[in-house]
């Protein structure tokens, strides 16, 4: 065994120490971990749609972020979180333009954050929300502001802005970065589920609705119009009139 490999084994064991400290904050960790299952339920409900590949990749990236955050690689964790949000929201944008999705799959088009967040036609623009789930259109500007701010905050880690160098220089646990990452993860999921709700909820069949009710209500139960979608009495009434 070379000196070099010894160095990396030492890093691994230090990483393990950080992991132990991270897992001691069980509540934050378990919650962020449970988001993976929430997203998988959405993926299952969308299994026949072409853009689901992108959503699935976003969940992979989210898991990388979670692992990085747990093992003390905070900068990488924030970068992964940004990529998760970008991929997840791109899946929603491409769902309404299969042509772009196909070009992206052929490597002829990039994912553009500017297009995702565009105030006129992006997935959180009032126009877009109005087209798919009109009752949520008034909430759109607030969620757009969250997405824009999150992206900027995570980008600061990617670009190495001055304020992001307060993280420990050595591989060690940092309570501030750990808590900050989990807060941002919660915000990313909030925005992602809002976009997924806008795009898919009104078109879901009762069985699909039943499958995603848990995560949707957990993340968006504060929105009256979302609760109404899952209101059994409302649903039965509308089915009865058809």
């Amino acid at each position: 065994m070379t000196d070099c490999s010894e160095y990396y084994f030492t890093l691994c064991s230090r990483q393990r120490e950080v992991l132990d400290q991270s897992l001691a904050s069980a509540a934050a960790y378990t919650k962020s971990h449970s988001f993976i299952r929430d997203l998988e339920l959405m993926i299952d409900a969308l299994e026949n749609r072409p853009e689901v590949f992108l959503l699935a990749q976003s969940v992979r990236e989210y898991q990388h972020g979670l692992f990085f955050a747990a093992t003390g690689h905070y900068r990488q964790a924030f970068v992964s979180l940004r990529m998760f949000m970008e991929l997840a929201l791109a899946s929603v944008l491409f769902s309404s333009c299969e042509y772009s999705l196909r070009r992206w799959m052929r490597g002829e088009q990039d994912i553009s954050w500017a297009a995702i967040i565009d105030s006129e036609n992006g997935v959180l623009s009032t126009n877009y929300v109005k087209a798919f789930f009109e009752e949520l259109s008034e909430s759109a500007p607030g969620y757009r502001a969250i997405a824009r701010t999150l992206y900027r905050e995570c980008s600061e880690y990617l670009h190495g802005n001055y304020g992001t160098w307060s993280a420990p220089e050595r591989l060690e646990f940092s309570d501030g970065d750990f808590v900050g990452w989990h807060e941002k993860a919660g915000s990313c999921l909030l925005v992602t589920f809002f976009c997924l709700a806008v795009r898919y909820l009104p078109g879901f069949a009762p069985t699909e609705l039943a499958a995603v009710e848990g995560p949707m209500i957990d993340h968006l139960g504060h929105i009256d119009q979302v609760r109404r979608v899952f209101d059994v009495s409302v649903r039965t009434d509308s089915e009865g009139t058809e």
Binding site: E138, S139, P141, G142, Y143, A145, I146, T149, L150, E153, E183, K184, G186, S187, L190, H222
Partner: protein, 541 residues
């Protein structure tokens, strides 16, 4: 959580447009400020007057090539420091300040190179105009302004103002500059224009405002409500358009508009908490009654936006803190004590309980709610003085003048700060939203010309005396720096530097401030600006 800035002075001019959330009322006020008609914007502390003037300045600057209107922003917040024995001190100081601001603004905009001789009139005859751009040298005029501003250190002295232009010479100089630079006119934007409790300064200011009027000058100003001493020359109805900058809490997009103000500064965690607790945020927005500074302060106290946080803040802030500023006025202006104290008693013991009683009754029978009261125009003048102070601190706002009430009596309708009304609810998050959502100005409590509540005030108040500025200022300078309305972090830094009194903060240089940990050039500048703005605002009321 990110620190929310709630003072315009903390915000760099380049960032002003990025933080500006435009309402239709704001746009109307801006259009008026940019027009050729002299405009005076009126509003309580923290409603965004300075911010609007700054936005007007930036927009006029950007539109210079189309409109040919050159903006000059001048703050008169230092007027409370003038303590010479010269009866014309305010006029002289104002002209010197104005002249130096014009020269600086022209220099910064790059016009100074091709300047006509008229600029030397504004700069006090200083021939060395090439020095003006360096930022290091001062002109004769600036020396005069500084001498007046430092007169608080030795009250009663005389400032040599040789070299200062007369109003006529000033007007002529502006005309020459306009024709040389191709400007159609200059737009002056006077901030903190007239000291509320110094009527003589108000009279002097409005006289100057009138005298400066020319085809090449448009004067605009921001004043607090309650500035009413216009002097003989200025006719309010003819010489300026008055615009009240209060946000309309009944507008459909009110909450959305207030949320955008927070969105421009908040981090993603706070924004997510606002999204998850939309109704709690709406309650805070209504409680702030259209005042962005109060909103940003209270949002800073409720980072989770939870119901328990909101209830606590509404109880604490609107039952005690909002009144603290009002009651501090008693200490600063002992001559007004009876009027100020009566105003608080009137609102707390008469107006608010009566509105609460009405709302409980209305809402239990699905009718509209109220936060309005009406006062007969024949009510005693002294009662109106008390309302003027309440308006100034933002406890009440004027909703409409010349309203007919029962028995065809005419009077003014006021809205009381909604936060104060919510604070009477046992659990504001459970019941106050219904009050906010059902408001109508059609319902109001009426206070006729001889209402019994006026009794104690009418019998106790002696004749008014104008305030003695010098004594007042000395007392204020000895106050602890804790009284200043700056962020907790800024207060910590002042303590760290041993700047413990208002006078010490005022006398500190940026170099002093940079001695604090984590304070560099930029922060020292912004802290000093914030501290000094707070000092002046404290002194001016």
């Amino acid at each position: 959580m990110s620190e929310l800035l709630y003072r315009t002075e903390d915000i760099r001019l380049e960032e002003v447009l990025g933080l500006f959330v435009e309402s239709s009322e704001d746009r109307a006020a801006l259009n008026a400020l940019k027009s050729a008609t002299p405009t005076i914007i009126v509003g309580s502390r923290g409603v965004g007057k300075s911010f609007l003037l700054r936005v007007a300045e930036v927009e006029l600057g950007q539109e210079l090539s189309n409109r040919q209107v050159f903006p000059v922003y001048v703050s008169f917040s230092r007027s409370s420091l003038l303590q010479t024995a010269d009866p014309a001190q305010f006029l002289n100081w104002t002209l010197s300040r104005l002249s130096s601001r014009v020269v600086r603004a022209l220099t910064q905009a790059g016009y100074i190179g091709g300047m006509p001789r008229s600029v030397s009139i504004l700069s006090g005859g200083a021939p060395s105009l090439h020095l003006l751009g360096s930022g290091e040298e001062t002109t004769r005029i600036e020396e005069i302004a500084t001498a007046y501003e430092e007169s608080w250190k030795s009250p009663g002295g005389i400032v040599d103002h040789t070299g200062l232009p007369t109003v006529e010479a000033f007007r002529d100089a502006i005309e020459d500059i306009c024709s040389a630079c191709g400007f159609r006119r200059m737009a002056f934007l006077f901030d903190e224009a007239a000291h509320v409790f110094l009527p003589q300064q108000q009279r002097d200011f409005f006289t100057l405002f009138r005298d400066l009027r020319s085809p090449h000058i448009t004067c605009n100003a921001a004043v607090y409500p309650g500035v009413t001493a216009y002097g003989d020359a200025f006719q309010p109805a003819h010489d300026a358009t008055f615009i009240d900058v209060n946000r309309d809490i009944l507008a459909d997009d009110y909450v959305q508009n207030m949320r955008e103000i927070v969105e421009r500064q908040a981090d993603s965690t706070l924004l997510s908490n606002i999204a998850r607790n939309g109704q709690n945020f709406a309650l805070l927005a209504y409680a702030a009654s259209g005042n962005p500074r109060i909103l940003l302060k209270t949002v800073g106290l409720t980072p989770r936006m939870s119901s328990s946080e909101i209830n606590e803040v509404i109880r604490e802030y609107y039952r005690t803190e909002i009144w603290a500023e009002h009651s501090t006025l008693c200490e600063k202006y002992p001559g007004h004590r009876d009027v100020i104290d009566w105003g608080r008693k009137f609102i707390e013991e008469d107006v608010l309980p009566e509105l609460k009683k009405k709302n409980d009754e209305y809402l239990s029978s699905d009718r509209n709610s109220t936060c309005f009261f009406w006062m007969s125009r024949d009510a005693p003048q002294i009662v109106y003085e008390a309302l003027r102070v309440l308006h100034y601190t933002g406890i009440v706002s004027e909703n409409s003048v010349g309203i007919k009430a029962s028995r065809s009596e005419i009077g003014t309708r006021y809205a009381v700060n909604l936060g104060c009304l919510f604070a009477l609810e046992p659990t504001p998050t459970a019941s106050a939203f219904a009050v906010a959502k059902s408001l109508t100005p059609k319902r109001m409590t009426e206070y006729g010309s001889g209402h019994s509540a006026y009794g104690p005030l009418v019998t106790s108040v002696p004749a008014y005396q104008e305030t003695n500025g010098a004594e007042l200022l000395r007392v204020q300078m000895e106050k602890p720096s804790e009284v200043l309305d700056i962020t907790l972090w800024q207060k910590d830094k002042l303590r760290e530097l041993n700047l413990l009194t208002v006078g010490a903060v005022l006398g500190a240089s940026e170099t002093n401030l940079k001695e604090a940990r984590y304070v560099g050039d930029k922060r020292a500048r912004s802290m000093r600006n914030a501290a000094i703005a707070a000092v002046f605002e404290y002194l001016s009321g």
